[in-house]
Symmetry: C2
Subunit: 237 residues, 2 copies
DNA sequence: ACAAAAGTGTTGTACGTACACCCATGA
DNA sequence: TCATGGGTGTACGTACAACACTTTTGT
């Protein structure tokens, strides 16, 4: 039979794969506030391309997978090269491999990450700029679709995990945490109910410090690192 | 600066990727009942390898990604070669790319699929056998971990989507549908509450036929194809 | 008539939402 | 003292689990 002969051919001979290359890219989410106390915006860093195809278009940070490099390591590497710091969250998003997504055949393993708010305030390297994630220009390749999908995952995950903490610095007020949720979900949340929800979930440790501002001081909280930002299931590593 | 030069190198020159090959594999779930009216078991088909590495071990169906072949097409192809039929559900699971998962460097894009119960009752091709998904032997490569992850996704998704319908034939009783949930989740469900839950969700169309057996006949239902088995988000295609 | 599955009704608890209300501070 | 955000109390509605109960068949 033809069938099982074909199937038994697992990874030991490389028939006609010569032209397929593997890249790793990362959608990196962070927060920015225009002026000091404004509501935050979800932003992502993009890299301006300096060659064809799509010369001078903005693209996701990424690069070729190294022969001796694990996928997640490659994602961390490009992430570090772009933001200069380590992410508070990093997860595989999807593998994009449509034949026509690039002139040559490229399969892109895309990751998505969160970096804390203070990080994206650092000066960005040349050719790197931060954009409002909901108002992007036309990007290179299929990167607009990729960002849309990453945003969808972010919004989803915010609903059933504590992932939003990954965008905040060590200490934060409940209002600041709520504003993160509001920025991601694009809707206002009831402060009273929000408070009860989060502090009935054992993820916050109250401190004795307060953020003093224009009104009644707000208590500062710290994230309880005993609970994971998000359950990842039985994935290796 | 070194940084942006590195990052701007997107997919136009193929430095040191020669040794990385791309495979596509699929975890295929179906149901089997030992005798006619027994409780169903979740089963998956495996292929016995006939070469090194891992000669004679069981492995997931899969093969090399064709140069002109989209990822999902490759998954469908290997799925058809194994089961002989089309899946009722097919979704990307994860990209596995650890350096040490195979003697040579292989990145496997893994899909998972559901095929209806009646399909897996057909005689399997030579070298293909169906196994209880919760009691597998030691498989080739990292395939045990992959199946564990696929099972986790299946159990998760069963909680928030109508995916279980994808394992049943066109017509089924509520008890049969409930048994699918019970087999996947490994726990018993209250028949009364289960009934209300599913038929308040607009996914079932009652027919005028009944399944007659040893007791009171049960109404047969049909799946309402207007509602998707599972929401996939803004993914391309 | 009886066993067993099909199918209905009822109740309690948990949780999210809406919103009224008090508290503490800067200006 | 007033405006405003911080923080508490309470009431309502929906969703789900538990379980008692009725219906309908085969034997």
């Amino acid at each position: 039979m033809e069938t099982q002969t074909t199937m038994a051919r697992q990874p030991e001979h490389a028939a006609s794969t010569d032209a397929i290359r593997v890249a790793v890219s990362t959608v990196i989410f962070s927060l920015q506030r225009r002026s000091g106390r404004e509501r935050p915006t979800v932003v992502i860093p993009l890299v301006r391309r300096t060659r064809d195809p799509h010369d001078s278009r903005w693209a996701l940070p990424g690069g070729w997978l190294g022969t001796e490099e694990n996928l997640e390591v490659a994602a961390s590497r490009t992430l570090g090269e772009t933001t200069g710091l380590a992410p508070s969250f990093l997860e595989q998003l999807y593998a994009f491999g449509a034949v026509d997504r690039s002139p040559s055949r490229v399969v892109s393993i895309v990751y998505w990450a969160l970096v804390r708010e203070d990080v994206s305030a650092q000066p960005a390297p040349q050719n790197v700029a931060w954009f409002d994630a909901t108002a992007l220009p036309q990007l290179a390749f299929d990167h607009n679709q990729i960002v849309d999908y990453a945003l969808w995952r972010l919004r989803n995950k915010v609903g059933y995990s504590r992932i939003a903490h990954g965008l905040l610095p060590e200490l934060f007020t409940l209002a600041e945490l709520r504003e993160v949720y509001e920025a991601i979900l694009s809707k206002r949340l009831d402060p009273a109910n929000f408070r009860r929800q989060v502090d009935s979930s054992d993820t916050l440790i109250p401190t004795d410090d307060f953020r003093t501002g224009s009104h009644r001081p707000a208590r500062l909280y710290r994230y309880n690192h005993d609970v994971e930002l998000a359950e990842r299931g039985p994935l290796p590593q």
